[in-house]
Symmetry: C2
Subunit: 220 residues, 2 copies
């Protein structure tokens, strides 16, 4: 395998991963639209496409391992391939979160509405934008853009806490509508995890571009 063919392989890998990212984003968007409109048929689309995302994950992994096996990569290419393998796993889990949300929405359809005050639409838009920006940072090898994704994680965490308390309050006031409040709380937790995965992806982009590991600097 020549250097040129190897670099073409790297381009393929990037393209496949971005396609995978688009599928994962779409799944979350659909699940959230179903939450807002109550249109359960959209949930079925999310469940149907889970297998496609899983298949795309396998393809990306296989290509990444093939590239590592066929040529001793330079340091920066090696970090790129490792980043792809990790981003791939996170995108598959973003898809899993979309499935979890879709399941909650189908459950919601069978229960009376609560008065829980939760701006799921805004939280979803923040979380999905974090995934999109992390993938843009990946596409353009832009570590600064990746950093802005990391900064937004607290915002989503705070919204998750607010919705938890709002749902908790709603449950205190009515046993009849508690299931709706519970489902809403769980949707918020799933969105919070989508944002976590976006954060992981952004960290992997920084690892690739800067060769530095920025994980857990805030906590440890």
């Amino acid at each position: 395998m020549t250097r040129t063919r190897f670099h073409q392989g790297l381009d393929d890998l990037k393209q496949k991963l971005l396609t995978m990212g688009g599928m994962a984003e779409q799944a979350v968007e659909r699940a959230v639209r179903a939450y807002q409109t109550g249109d359960v048929s959209v949930c079925q689309l999310v469940l149907r496409d889970e297998g496609k995302i899983n298949a795309a994950e396998r393809e990306v992994d296989e290509l990444a391992v093939d590239l590592l096996a066929m040529q001793q990569p330079m340091a920066v290419d090696l970090r790129f391939i490792i980043a792809c393998i990790k981003i791939n796993a996170d995108l598959e889990r973003v898809g899993d979160q979309a499935v979890n949300i879709a399941e909650r929405v189908m459950d919601l359809a069978n229960h009376p509405k609560s008065s829980v005050n939760a701006d799921i639409a805004r939280m979803a838009s923040l979380a999905i934008n974090m995934v999109r920006e992390a993938l843009n940072a990946f596409l353009t090898a832009d570590a600064d853009m990746a950093h802005t994704v990391l900064e937004r994680d607290d915002l989503v965490d705070n919204m998750n806490r607010e919705i938890f308390e709002a749902a908790d309050y709603a449950m205190t006031h009515s046993t009849e509508t508690h299931r709706h409040a519970l489902d809403t709380l769980l949707v918020a937790r799933n969105l919070e995890r989508v944002a976590d995965h976006a954060t992981n992806i952004a960290e992997d982009v920084i690892f690739w571009v800067r060769g530095a590991d920025v994980r857990h600097h805030a906590q440890s």
Copy 2:
């Protein structure tokens, strides 16, 4: 770097990953013990050790990338290193679940007990054993043992669903104790995720040992 030094590097990598696994297991065990005993001081230990698990994750990743960079590995060694990188990420997330459980337990301590019928101890023991067996399969390169881990995931999923319904039922019957039921439900979900990570680890062991990708065969 000679072959021998390279293989010593692989042994180091395996040892470091197993140490990391032990830390993640211990964190879950402690969080669950705190749930059972109500001893909040144990939760503090879990929160305190999160930084150690994160530091261990970085060390494993750095060693893995160094090994890939220093020598063109044979196919089986390459798969082993990739498996280590992926198992590492899952173990770090097992540690995150332990932190989530510890946070729920600290919340529980401030709220009246509900009558929710949930065998968290049994569920935890199943999930922790799955992690332990997956790591044993990794230690002994035993793909059959890894397969037995995959088979047990449904059991934990079913327990999660049962506890969800039990907590839901408890919430229908009392607004005063709903928070305890809610926290219990969330602890069960965290344990279900621990089992998911064990499943991921088992799949990575099979990928390494057999060179085959067994992911998502059930779903897709």
